[in-house]
Amino acid sequence: MAATDLLYALSAAGAGMGGAPSYWTNAGGAIREPNGLFAVNTWKNVKRGATHQQLTLTGYDPQAAILAATGGVIPYSLDFLHVQVTFTLTDASNFSSVDVLLLDADGNQLATAPLYLLDTAAGITTLGWVNYIGHNGLDDGQPLTWDDLAGCQIVLDVDWSPAAQIGATFAVDAVGMFVSYTVDPPTTPLQPPTAVPVQAPGGGVTLRVYDRDDNRLGTLPWSKLSTTIVRNDLAALSAEVPKGLIATGLLDGERYLRVAVNGRETDDWFVLDDDGDDDANEYGAMRPVAIAGTGVGSILDWGVVYSWQYDPTKGTLLGLDPNNGFAGKTPGFVLRTLIDAAKARGCFPQLTYSFTDDVDSAGRAWPTIYSKTYDIGTSLLKVLTDAATDGWVDWEMTGFRLDCYVPDTTLALDRPDVILRLGKGVTQAPRKRTRKSTRTALLANGDQGATVEVDDPTAAVTYGRREGYEGRSGVTDVGTLTAATTVSLARQTDAHEALTLEIDPYAMPEEAPALPRPGGYIRYDQRRLSPTELEPMRVQSVAIDYGDAGKVSVELNDLWVDADIKRARQLDAILNGSTANDRVPQPQDAPDSLAPGPVLGLGLESTAYVAPDGTLGAQMTASWVQVTQNADGSTIDDLAGYELQWRQLDVMSGINTISINAITLYEWSPVVPGVQIDVRIRAIDRWGNGSTWSDWTSIMAGADVTPPPVPTAPVVDNYLGLYRAVWDGAFVGGLARPPDLHHVEVHLSQIDGFTPDARPIEDGGTLAGSVFAAGPVFRDTPYGQTWYAKLVAVDTVGNRSDPSDQSSGASGQVVEADVFDGAIGSSKLADLAVITAKIDDLAVNNAKIGSMEVGKLLAGTFTAQIIMGGTISTSADPTTSGGVQINGLGIYAWNSSGVQTVAIDTAGNATLTGTYRTAASGQRVEIGVAGATRQLVFYSPNGQQQYLRSETWQNQANSTVEALSIRAGTQALILATSDNTASMWGWSLGFIYRDDFSVWSAPSVLGDTANQRERVTINSNGEWTLWPGGGGTMHFLAQDVSTSSPRIQFVNPSGFGAVIKAVYANSVARIEVRDVNDQGFSNVYAAAFTVNSDLGAKTDVRAVDEADAAAMLTAVLDTKVHRYRRIRYDGSDAAEEIGLVAQRAPKQIVVGASNPDPGVDLYQMNTMLWGAVQTLGRRLAAIETRGGKKK
């Protein structure tokens, strides 16, 4: 059932819930969150004036819901409870709150939490939920447990404030309950740690007393307290309590003790066994009472095995117990049957167990079934401890719950992170190794004369011959006796070691609480398997002294003990029979018949063994259920025995038949190991009637499932150039070589940390070879290449050990005393000993040739760093037939006509005829293109050609013009020896040249294509002459040196013109227009002559007054007008003019009075006349006014 199903169901019940709350997650995997749903339709009328009411909900069974969800597996742990409630209020006005109470079956409150309410308006369905009840522990600080859910009750505590209204109702529509739990045991350490008080501020250790019904009676104020928890055995507790502090009656009757560390009780409960004190003790009333308890598992000692069924209510026997003894049953079945029988008689009602007939307490299927009969009166505690000693189960008590596990699973928790370091907090570390029980040879006696002797030569090397004896009554088969004795001897061939570490928990605040419970593994820094690996040490027991000077003692055993237990299990399988896969069904009912009923539950076990003569055999053990009924179901009273048939069709024909008494276990040998064996059985009564044969049941003979121990890591080295991996014949932990060891595989790989693959290396695996004893495997690997090696031990039936530790190495070159590299020096080699046949073709090359003098050398490709020779030629005489020759003078080539085409001499002269291209096509430069000699052609990327060409032609004067032209399309730039480039056209630049000894020659730009005339010339003085058309010219003359004035001369074809020059003199710049020779001045004609008179261009502007204007009139009147003729520098006469003379004119209008060429400012002169006319005007008006007055 998934969480979503539940929510759907909740919705269907009328809750109106819209999907999962957002915080809801289903983690999947090992954590599951489904389960109980129960719906109620309880209308609850609230009492008038009630302040609060409790509503107990019914109709749910969370344990059943979880089991339904998990398929019957009890969760490993519970995390929290989640409750959802939907309800309807008819009147919400005084509604206050709802608390959820979780009560146990007895009504004791486990936890409480307020319901979180979504909405509380009247008349609507309200959703409320509470999360995580028990997530941080229940009210007593303990986690939510499976037992808490048994018969638990949920109560809604509804509060009204101040009181409920009349007629108010509180109606629950539906309730959903969800429990978060974990099914699988955690892979990370979640096993409850051994309770160790370390640095517990504010905490402490209390000793609590309970009765059988789990009622806490009180606390014992102890002065001394210590506990010891032992692997697969009862824990123990001892304490001292001052007598005066024990409440009256606290220790009377059946009592249980629990230790709480920091308020949290440990899982180990104790039965109070003893208490006692000494009246003579001088401390009187406060004298110490010594208290001793054993682990709560000791209550199993209060029930024993009855071989018959007994009804205690009637005091009568009901006959033999059909289950006694157990044939082919799981440990769970055996223990459960016996415990249930005892509980039925009234024993230990408080005891529960968490395993079933099929699976252990972690939900793991029991792998093995056993056959065993218990003596009457055997206590169930003995049954349990024997089951642990024999390797059937690992067990521990959690409170009153018995947890049993498949051995070496849940309780074999490895904690490689817990490393006890000697200097850190180990206060004592006594170690004891005993050789007293070591044996190297065993004599074993069975029944009916079966006697074998087994010895271990390897152990005998160390310990000599130490004989032991074992009597095995009931074993009549020599093969079985040999196999059992071999395993038993293997348990005795080495010393036994135990190590106890006493640690100061305060010095190891991290390690001490992390100590696993007994059965787990830790590390101790003084015990190493290799520089990189600490030895796993199994915790056998943990003893804790809780006093002021608290200390923890950890008893450790190493790998040896594990191997020993495995051998004990193997021995048990040989002597009792077991099979991993068979289950024994119950006998069936059938109608009455004279023939016996069929034989059921045939189980087979086979173990390989080495016979005293060294041959390998296999021993067989068959077990079955005693036939108790005839074929018709009536009780059989004439069973005589059984017939057992076996065959090994792969190696022999025919069927072997064995007649057996009326027993249920038979052993025989030898059979051929490693081959399938088929076995069937039938029952025979004393009249010879046989039942139907059972089906053939098959197993592999000698198919022991015990893999060999892990070999030690191989030693890898280089041996004669080969990679050698050597097994030293030893096994990890010093274990002895098992008798059924067949070989040890040597695996090689270039991958670091590889996993061995049993296929040969050539087939993609890693198998390089096998050894049958200590020895090497060689492999030809490239020198220097690192290969990793591991070993895998394989027994005769193919069981494979885990790979050994890895070694690595590489093969290398051989250096040995006889013929190593370089051993034969040249002096040891006879002269002329190396003949042609001893030299491989092409073997002599490169450095092997110093200098070589030969008459003739024929070669294919000739590669040399330096070739020295008189002449290197492509033919005998290339000068006539063409070819290439390199000689002492240079490099030469001739065409087929014997014409020299290439000549590069040592002086550096080079002649290359033909066309020289910088590229075969496309963008390139070509020199001497065929058909167009003397030209350099540039091919642009678009295929256009530009030339650089040397040319000659005849000009108009029929003289030869030599020219260099640069042509790009139709345009050309020509550098020629003459200015008359008759045959050329377009804009050309002619005869511009310069050499190192002359100044610039006059360049000109040829512009007039019709007349072949220059349009621009520049002479050596830098003077430019422009012919803008016709005969007129413009000259940019050299500047007037006296005044540094630049000048432009305009000359018409008749030689007339003018010069315009820019003059700067006496801080005034002006443009002068002079005659064509830049002597006198020339005329300027224009339509208008305008002087700028803008107000904005002037400053200090003021109107002249009448006096000033009168002065102007006076100046005009005082200045004489002259007649004259201008001087012409060409000598011609000029016409007479009138005008003023600057030197005799008013200064106001004279410009450049101090210059060689003073002039008159026309604008000022006219203005002066203007002022004079204004004066005249005023005086005329005055005259007119006076005359009028006179009139």
Binding site: R528, P531, L534
Partner: protein, 275 residues
């Protein structure tokens, strides 16, 4: 350097006010911890078989003088008791030497305190302090970082910064920075213990491995998750350095089967003093 007045503190409470309260005599303040362990008598051999010793807990005694008149002396006495009598924890005792160096230890007052009244004006009392840890340590954290050289003979790490110590350096923190393959640090101090610590794994570039002798912590940085099983050491700590004779420097030698540029060793800790 001019000598300064010696000062004593219990946690932050100064005992050497110099005005109304002071430590009177220097007698008993410089007591070194006694050695623990014994030599072994072997029959038929002269003398005893010598065994290396360890130090036991340290002790020192402060002669304290309090007060100028009775009422103040009583107040000072109450303050003193509150400061130094802390049976549930260890008190930090700090001493500033005449050379100005601050040293401290963790100590407890286990004996009774019996003041002697001097008239009615003042008290005089001796405080016996036990130092369970044995040693004093300097107040200044010393950090020595040495890059690993390519010299196949190894890199010498000069720990002269610690060499003024008079007691064994048992609580140094060693940090190895990669890349180093199977690094080993060996004590090559002249007349030292010759111990070594190694890590039979790889400390890659950008990673660091810290071995803290004080806490026995093995921590990685830069993504290194160290395996405690790969740490091997010859002594009773990861690496403890004995005190050196005057003028001799502590020296470690770093070796590794593979050293890449950037590898370095950092040694962090405090000087350690007998007293």
């Amino acid at each position: 350097m001019p000598a300064i007045r010696e000062r004593w503190f219990a946690d932050d409470y100064e005992l050497t006010d110099g005005d109304v309260m002071d430590v009177e005599y220097r007698d008993g303040t410089l007591v070194t911890p006694a050695a623990r362990g014994s030599n072994v008598v072997v029959n038929n051999r002269t003398g005893e078989q010598w065994r290396p010793k360890r130090h036991g807990p340290g002790t020192f005694t402060l002669q304290v003088w309090l007060g100028t008149y009775q009422r103040q002396a009583q107040q000072l006495w109450d303050d003193l008791l509150a400061a130094v009598v802390q049976p549930h924890r260890l008190v930090t005792w700090r001493r500033i030497t005449a050379a100005g160096e601050s040293r401290y230890c963790y100590g407890e007052v286990v004996g009774a305190l019996q003041p002697t009244a001097i008239g009615q004006a003042a008290y005089r009392a001796s405080i016996d302090v036990v130092v369970p840890g044995g040693y004093w340590r300097g107040d200044q954290l010393q950090v020595v970082t040495v890059p690993a050289g390519a010299d196949p003979a190894g890199t010498v790490i000069d720990l002269g910064a610690f060499s003024s110590s008079t007691a064994m350096l048992e609580e140094l923190s060693l940090t190895l920075t990669g890349r180093l393959v199977s690094p080993q640090l060996s004590d090559i101090t002249d007349r030292g213990r010759g111990d070594w610590v190694s890590y039979n794994g790889v400390v890659d570039t950008g990673q660091g491995l810290t071995l803290d002798n004080a806490t026995w912590g093995i921590t990685g940085s830069g993504g290194l998750v160290p395996d405690g099983g790969l740490v091997n050491y010859s002594g009773d700590r990861f690496l403890a350095l004995a005190a050196t004779p005057p003028g001799v420097k502590h020296q470690l030698l770093l070796t590794a089967t593979e050293i890449d540029p950037g590898a370095a060793v950092t040694v962090t800790g405090y000087r350690s003093y007998l007293v």
